[in-house]
Symmetry: C2
Subunit: 99 residues, 2 copies
């Protein structure tokens, strides 16, 4: 129970990041439009969070064409899943301690 806060990952503190990762834990390869719609944020905002997560190697990006339209999809990397899992564990400890 010492330093129970230290195990929280800074990268996942924002609601948007939390949302992105939780969607990518369940579904592999969610596309840009779907994420934008689910999270109800602007495309620029989404792009910047995606960019941040990719720089941390927490997600992988796949660009392709679906029919004639460009389509960018994202998946959580092994490293990303591990990091997010650890973050959730830390949160779970807070929750179990608090209610």
């Amino acid at each position: 129970m010492k330093n129970f806060i230290a195990n929280l990952n800074k990268a996942f503190e924002s609601r948007v990041r939390l949302g992105i990762m939780s969607l990518l834990m369940v579904n592999d390869f969610v596309d840009f439009g779907t994420l934008k719609e689910q999270l109800q944020i602007t495309d620029g905002n989404l792009a910047s969070h995606i960019n941040a997560l990719e720089k941390l190697h927490y997600i992988e990006i796949r660009k392709q064409f679906v029919g004639k339209k460009p389509n960018t999809s994202f998946a959580a990397s092994v490293e990303g899943k591990k990091a997010f899992s650890e973050h959730l564990d830390a949160l779970e400890k807070l929750i179990n301690q608090s209610n």
Copy 2:
């Protein structure tokens, strides 16, 4: 499963606030020094987070003397407990969906 992010409370996004509230959910009236030690942050930083939580009426402050030393203690208000509980519920939904 719609807007599962919208139920997260902005006030509890930071690790420090998360830590303060989770401590106050379990123990009523934790004092300044204890919080500072548990969270390992500077006194100024703690004071500002405390101030923010008080402005939201999420915590209550009790000032007294213990022996000859001033002692400030904090407790989660009913409103604060409710808000934090709802935040945790939203987090729990993320977790259960994600692992």
